[in-house]
Amino acid sequence: MTYQEALDRVEELRGHGKAPFSIEQKRLIALMYPEILGKPFRRTACQRCYHDAVIEMAVKLRKEQKMREKCDYHMRAGFIIRCGDFDGGEIYTNANLTNDVARRYLERFPAKRVMFDRIPKETAETPEQATKEPTKQVVQPSEKKTAKGRSNRNERK
């Protein structure tokens, strides 16, 4: 689906107003949502989850002005990228991760490959890359050490 096709369909759905969507329209929303937002559409107990999804898609399309880039990288559940030394502390999740961002992040912090459960084969780790460690990481080894030996409550501030 091209950007213009997606935008036209979303605008058409927005024109539906507050009236309930038909089964076909709901099916279309559930199909388009992951393609545009990069995360699965989940029906909840919310009465207006389909209407909310349409608004989300419209906002995303207008903001990005393009379709979401298919990403060949995927982080394990629970990991996000938020590092003060990388892209000014921008938060990256699987929903907004791109090949470019993931490639740059792993080039800079190769030890963070453990955060990913899907990496293209061409992203090879080299000894030179392995020596570059971030000053601020998502998982801090010192914190892990403290967590394991945290029986002493005097460590609290």
Partner: protein, 199 residues
């Protein structure tokens, strides 16, 4: 030499007019199999062992959403002191209803709940002031939540013929554990990412 762990209080008990506690839970939370958690990758807050900064699942695993209807979602969820012979601990209970009863629900959810061990994260309505560090409360990280009641009452007014589930964690040395990393936005992103799995 005796090994005595200190158990002390270190904070005034007062309330802030700007951060008054609010009762209740939001209508959605997540539940995961305890065995799916990558404990080695868990990162605790260095200043507060009751706060987990990074909670990660093993490759290919994900957390599952639990969405509740009604004005008092997760009714019955609570924590209580459990007096022991040598050391007191906490019992945490997570209660929810499953408003469905079909073969898929039975196979994929109820049967698993009966004998599994779980960790749940529920969202407090009280967010914890400006930082938002009190929203995402973790149940079962210490000992695991196990089922102590799963009932399907066909004429129940509360469950509309669905399932009432009580999960309980006993012997936890933590009164409460929270998921919080840096700020509310980062924590929300981390929480949401637990629901995802590679496609």
């Amino acid at each position: 030499m005796a090994n005595l762990c200190e158990s002390i209080i270190a904070k005034d008990i007062a309330f802030s007019c700007d951060e008054l506690a609010t009762k209740g839970l939001e209508s959605d939370g997540i539940i995961m199999n305890r065995g799916d958690i990558d404990f080695a990758a868990t990162v605790f807050d260095t200043n507060n062992p009751n706060v987990i900064k990074t909670l990660v699942l093993k490759t290919g695993k994900r957390a599952y959403e639990v969405v509740q209807a009604g004005n008092t979602p997760f009714t019955g969820t609570q924590s209580a002191l459990e007096v022991g012979t040598y050391r007191n601990t906490f019992t945490h209970t997570v209660s929810f209803v499953v408003l469905a009863n079909d073969p898929e629900t039975s196979r994929d959810f109820i049967d698993g709940l009966a004998n599994g061990t779980f960790v749940a994260i529920l969202r407090n309505k009280h967010k914890g002031g400006n930082t938002g560090d009190g929203e995402y409360q973790i149940y079962g990280y210490s000992q695991g939540l196990v089922a102590n009641e799963i009932t399907n009452d066909k004429y129940s007014e509360d469950t509309d013929g669905g399932w009432l589930v009580n999960l309980q964690e006993t012997g936890s040395r933590f009164s409460a554990m929270f998921l919080f990393n840096t700020d509310a936005t980062t924590t929300e992103a981390a929480y949401e990412s637990l629901k995802e799995v590679a496609q």
